[in-house]
Subunit: 431 residues, 2 copies
Amino acid sequence: MSNKLSNLSNKQLTELHQTFEAEFQKEKLARATRAEVSIDLTRGKPSAQQLDLSNNLLEAYSVKDLQEYQGMDPRNYGGLDGVPEAKSLFAPLLGANPSELIVFGNSSLELMYLCIHFYFQFGGQKVTPWSKEGSVKFICIAPGYDRHFQITEKFGFELVTVGFNQDGPDMDAIEALVASDKSIKGIWCVPKYSNPTGHVYSEEVIKRFAKLPRVACQNFKIFWDNAYAVHDFEDTSFEIPSLLTLCKQEGTQDSVIMFASTSKITFAGAGVCAVAASDTTRNELIAHLGALSIGPDKINQLRHVKFFGSYSSLQIHMRNHAKIIAHKFNLVLATLDEKLSDYDWAVWTKPRGGYFVSFDTKPGLAKKVVSLANELGLKLTPAGATFPYGKDPKDSNIRLAPSFATSEEIKPAIEKLALSVKLATLAQMIQ
Amino acid sequence: MSNKLSNLSNKQLTELHQTFEAEFQKEKLARATRAEVSIDLTRGKPSAQQLDLSNNLLEAYSVKDLQEYQGMDPRNYGGLDGVPEAKSLFAPLLGANPSELIVFGNSSLELMYLCIHFYFQFGGQKVTPWSKEGSVKFICIAPGYDRHFQITEKFGFELVTVGFNQDGPDMDAIEALVASDKSIKGIWCVPKYSNPTGHVYSEEVIKRFAKLPRVACQNFKIFWDNAYAVHDFEDTSFEIPSLLTLCKQEGTQDSVIMFASTSKITFAGAGVCAVAASDTTRNELIAHLGALSIGPDKINQLRHVKFFGSYSSLQIHMRNHAKIIAHKFNLVLATLDEKLSDYDWAVWTKPRGGYFVSFDTKPGLAKKVVSLANELGLKLTPAGATFPYGKDPKDSNIRLAPSFATSEEIKPAIEKLALSVKLATLAQMIQ
């Protein structure tokens, strides 16, 4: 247990403030003198070292492989739902049968956006277009993924914020909302290693999600973005229950779309993505996608199939990612402990996987801390980004994304953060 | 000059009908006996032989190339507008400066769809969303590309049909329409080797397109799909004037979006596409695309850059395509001449490039001919597909797409077509 800053006298606080102010100015000056480049902890991007793990992907699919391939010509148009071999490879990633998958292009975010657009504008076989039913609301579990929130904000939906419990989102609040308000058309979820809080939804929570469509409006959709399905730090990979499987038991399978991608498995910009959904939903999506797409890049799908060979090989590949990334997270957490555990400066998560540490300052300080850190050459995700409309009601959450920085940069980066937190906190207290 | 069927007596027509009816039944029976597979002339797909020309693309970009690359890491997220090297390579294809390009994913159709969606739903910096201005109309030059028409039909726009003159679309009609009706928000164009008529828009026509936005509504957009920019049959490649360049002279550059892709240059399903547009339009598109995309597959762009090396090498590559495809078109035209030039059974185009022969029966016969041909094992694009809503007012246009079939299939395919035409024509005349 750390000491409480509130137990310190004004004199003590003022002295501490002076100390850290001096340290801050010294560091700022030193940085200017050395003309240092900034350290960037803004986005959950794989590092070059991680990307190197997949370099052989570039040469994985040869002319010989093409000539020996028995399926439809992967070079030509068509195959809107992806090649069968890619469905088989990625089915375990989604916790679904190969036949339940659509394997698509290089961006699951693009598919999510298109699903929002399709259901808003056109609806589906059994689903009224959201746009035909007045105002549209969407539940955003926050802190959450800014790009999810931004899509629904772009479409003019009203974003309804719900918080977290220990074992996942506040299901009581979610159930009450969707039952009482039929203008709530959907919800964004990152069920494993939530961006940025690192939550892993419990089996109990996922079971409640499977029942949720029963009390929701008829065109309600759960956007289940399992972006970090195999992104565990420890050597024992574990799986959360498949929402689609649970939904089939509840008869709610038409209300869920599960997403995954290889963006943080192979190449962030040149991977493949997949969705798993019920027959009805898949047929709806294929019908809509058929209006715009000539089919995904099937060669890149086969390239991935050849590169991995099997799902177990993909899992081994993820262990190599873990070795690189877990080390950086350990450095983050060790430095936070070293620099910020003497007092109750802040609280932060200790994730077991994923790409983020969620860091909470005392209320009203996140923007100030991000600004101070920037003066010291540390780029952080803008404060508020993890909340709908980019507005954190408490102004306390900061998302730390240490994957892209080098190991050498992590400790100085977190020291800059800690110093900024201390200075901002004390400045607020002695005001 | 062929003889006129109308000069034949009823007796002569009836005798001819009996002859072709017998021939048709014999052919149908023979086909059933031999259990022949169908010949497919439905879609403008490159043949396997054409795709083979680009097989080295598969292995073109190596780990060594990656390691020597000086630009932003193409494996990671970002670079929404494409890699600079790809912009330089494809700029001549679009008749634009590299800086005017966005190079994107494997489907220009997808980009066209997204542009329609963006301008309908969100508008742009200086552009009111189409959806905010009541009903939306779109000009479709017909016969034209079914997938263009289907996109705008899906969005519920009213499709206004305009026909062709010798040197391109009927500009008098188009100018009168856009000047008098501000609900006309755009027009689909395939300016070179139009799908399916093979028209090449004249310089005069393109100049009139450049002036068109002056009399149109403020959020009018020309969708300029130069899909066959380098798809000439003869060895002397020629270029049409760049609409964007002409628009800049007229001050109308914000109203045009030009599209191209390598779908019929390298791999139909695994190529790259590009748009060229003004600064304003590009910024609008990038802002919208940024909500859904994590960037295009930059590796595949660099793979294309490496494979071609230069634009002149791409042009040489297209000569090799021409050798394969022009031979098939020659077979189509020779067989049509051989079988259908004795009387005025039909008229057809003699394209100098592109992927189609546009074939017109006498009015009211296209559906019947497609159906008869199908009985003989020849699959044709559904009659009407080349018109808005899939309805050819004259029921006479049939699109022939001979690229995908083998050379051996072409002559029998066209013989089946000719026989079906003769039978349908005579049946109609002796009714």
